[in-house]
Symmetry: C2
Subunit: 139 residues, 2 copies
Amino acid sequence: MIRPMSLDEMRALLEQGRVGRLGCVSEGKPYIVPVSYILSGDAIYIHSLVGRKVRALRHDPRACLQVDDIQDAYNWRSAIAFGRYEEIADAGEREQAVRRLLARFPHLTPVESVPVHDGQSSVIVFRLRVEEMTGVCEA
Amino acid sequence: MIRPMSLDEMRALLEQGRVGRLGCVSEGKPYIVPVSYILSGDAIYIHSLVGRKVRALRHDPRACLQVDDIQDAYNWRSAIAFGRYEEIADAGEREQAVRRLLARFPHLTPVESVPVHDGQSSVIVFRLRVEEMTGVCEA
């Protein structure tokens, strides 16, 4: 049976997930990239090189992160969190976010697999404060 | 090393994939859902119930399908195909598309797991004609 997920279920899915699909609007068109992320409090933290998605999000901060867990055709969950792109410029806050990301992803992951250890890197750290979540599952 | 994918490589990834993430713009915001799809010629075929994504795509047909294959942090591929939403209304064309989808997905799959066997269903079949593709991989 397909049914909407509860807030707790969506939160659990986002906490458990490692790779999500980040969506943004780039030149009027939807754009999606896989990203590693962490959920902390009511915000999602992501790091990235400056590229199409960061340029798009600087222009239009409306973003979403979709996370799913698909076992088979009849057992799956998918949730989507909506929020605004906020680049983390404050050095202390940035360091804290990077430390948390590295703790979860010691080797970092797809599209983002570039060292962020040095303070000089061109890696952006940003957050989406979750404003809305929806999710559906079947089991 | 991270590098752009060739057209052949992107096509191979899309042909091999089973679940992609469909992106659209819903009320100005990016929206993503996992979907089963097939690539046939230069078009991607998808079936769906009428819901938020179909309503959004009827309003703004600009869409994308992102497909990835993530082995680990250093071995992954991700491609995104852009195209316009075209609902398939012609009965013969619709039946052919449904037959192809069912051949590949005998039990159908996430978010779409609703029978499409009957001619009366509220299931929409649509296509994205691929206008542009980009892809990146690391190996």
